[in-house]
């Protein structure tokens, strides 16, 4: 009731500058930018000092950086690190599923609405928290895949009139007949995420990525098993956020990330491109943009001052990591990543501090979100109450290992 469907996503205004993104995100850009700003060798020096710091923190058993803390995160990355776009679990072609032909049956057909329900049910079974379906928009697909090392050449991503997707040393080919995108949000473990910025807290993101790889690869195989083509993607190949906005998963918030009404911004996004015809979902409006205009809690909480304090979203980007031509509260990703290096973690304070990031047990959260959606005049009160009740504060990393909770059950 308080989550309204709308024809266009909030903050959907775009200009002629909006084009396919280069694919060079902050991770690809940080090294050259650091060198450009602080001189030759500055990136390498930063990496070396980070490595020394980690070793010292492990030795002194700094809370959140003990050996078990660090290795918990490393273990959680395993599935994601064992794959890469176009290969392994994220293969653009069939891995092991039997085709309908092999089972002596034609491919599965059903009305688009029924097909959408079938795919969503499968996605939820595999671990999706939220699922939406939207038409393919080529403008959201990256121009190329970021190179993995300096020696490698860029691999361009192209759309062609072909029957099946393909991956070569130089190109990723998406068939033009792939007109549907299944967008999936994987909720992160909130109890673990509340321990950021530490190596222990990073495990929540790591696990989110590994779950994403598992969910999209399983769903892609399911779709192939029905007799259609499917391309599973995590962060790679295309911008997940605009697809998620179009699919009605959430709205774009002040932290320039997707905020969902159910889990706030504490989700990982992934998607599957397919030629399986399905009914599409509509974008949603739950009053987030108005809330973000007044709240600014994430910007206050950000230790690197990377988030915007502007009252209104604008078209003004903050660097080459932002894709121009659309309205947003753009962030300074350079400052953000610099803090990652200092804290030896993937931070995530903005995710935890957002008032929409809440557990799902207390009824009051639903009431507050509903009221914020229909009566924005109450938004400042909710921000004050959120602080007063102590939400968004870092929890003691050391307690995670002994607490009795689903993610840290006592033996």
């Amino acid at each position: 009731m308080w989550i309204r469907t709308v024809d266009r996503p909030t903050l959907s205004e775009k200009t002629a500058d909006y084009n396919r993104f280069s694919g060079n995100d902050m991770f690809a850009l940080y090294r050259p930018l650091k060198t450009q700003r602080d001189g030759a060798g500055s990136f390498e020096a930063e990496q070396a000092s980070m490595a020394k710091r980690v070793m010292a923190w492990i030795a002194e058993k700094k809370p959140g950086y003990s050996l078990p803390d660090i290795q918990l995160s490393e273990g959680a990355w395993t599935v994601m690190h064992s794959t890469k776009p176009g290969s392994g679990l994220l293969s653009w072609t069939r891995i092991s599923v039997r085709t309908p032909g092999e089972l002596g049956t034609p491919r599965h057909t059903a009305p688009p609405a029924e097909m959408a329900n079938t795919v969503k049910a499968a996605a939820r079974l595999y671990g999706a928290g939220l699922v939406g379906i939207t038409p393919m928009n080529e403008a959201y697909v990256n121009l190329q895949a970021p190179r993995e090392n300096e020696k490698e050449k860029d691999k361009e991503i192209v759309f062609e009139d072909v029957d099946a997707p393909s991956v070569s040393d130089t190109r990723f080919v998406i068939p033009k007949k792939m007109k549907w995108v299944v967008v999936i949000a994987i909720p992160m473990d909130l109890d673990l995420l509340s321990r950021v910025p530490t190596a222990l807290g990073d495990a929540a993101s790591a696990l989110g990525y590994s779950h994403s790889a598992f969910v999209v690869s399983s769903l892609a195989e399911f779709i192939r098993g029905l007799g259609y083509e499917a391309i599973p993607c995590v962060n790679d190949t295309a911008q997940s956020v605009p697809f998620a906005l179009d699919a009605g998963i959430g709205e774009l918030g002040r932290l320039n990330k997707l905020v969902t009404p159910e889990f706030g911004p504490s989700v990982r996004l992934c998607k599957v491109f397919t030629d399986l015809p399905m009914a599409c979902d509509k974008p949603i409006d739950f009053g987030l943009v108005e809330f973000c205009k007044r709240c600014k809690k994430c910007a206050d909480a950000c230790p690197s001052r990377a988030l915007s304090f502007d009252d209104e979203p604008s078209f003004k980007t903050r660097g080459p990591w932002n894709n121009p031509g659309h309205k947003a509260w753009f962030e300074d990703s350079y400052k953000c990543l610099e803090y990652w290096q200092k804290s030896n973690s993937a931070c995530g304070i903005c995710l935890v501090s957002c008032p929409y990031t809440k557990g799902n047990e207390a009824w009051v959260h639903e009431g507050v979100k509903a009221t914020a959606s229909i009566a924005p005049v109450a938004d400042p009160v909710f921000r004050i109450m959120d602080n007063a009740f102590g939400y968004g504060k870092q929890r003691d990393p050391e307690q995670w290992w002994t607490k009795d909770s689903p993610s840290g059950r006592k033996g």
């Binding site: 557990g359 047990e361 207390a362 009431g367 102590g390 929890r395």
Partner: protein
């Protein structure tokens, strides 16, 4: 019941809509904050749980205070302007001559 010179007067006070409205609101808030307090422990939000329990206690204390205040004036034979009264002043089966 007021002892008069010749008769007992039985006063029946009807609860007003305001009373039931406030009582309903109080009950709703109590249930909401008890649920929030219990759920917040499950969510690991201990400060939220503590504050919720304090609010539950304050609401309960307010209700006790209001109840006692209501009882006081009635014993003294006062009637609230908000309350409607139905008085039986003629000797009836429920009245008795002193």
């Amino acid at each position: 019941m007021t002892r008069g010179a010749d008769v007992f007067t039985v006063t029946i006070r009807k609860r007003t809509g305001w009373f039931w409205g406030l009582a309903g609101l109080w009950l709703l808030l109590e249930v909401l904050f008890v649920q929030t307090a219990v759920a917040s422990v499950g969510e690991g939000e201990h400060r939220a749980a503590t504050i919720s329990w304090i609010v539950v206690g304050l609401l309960a204390a307010f209700a006790c205070f209001a109840w006692l205040r209501r009882g006081g004036p009635r014993k003294r034979g006062h009637s609230s302007g908000q309350q409607q009264e139905a008085s039986i002043s003629e000797p009836t089966s429920i009245s008795s001559v002193d």
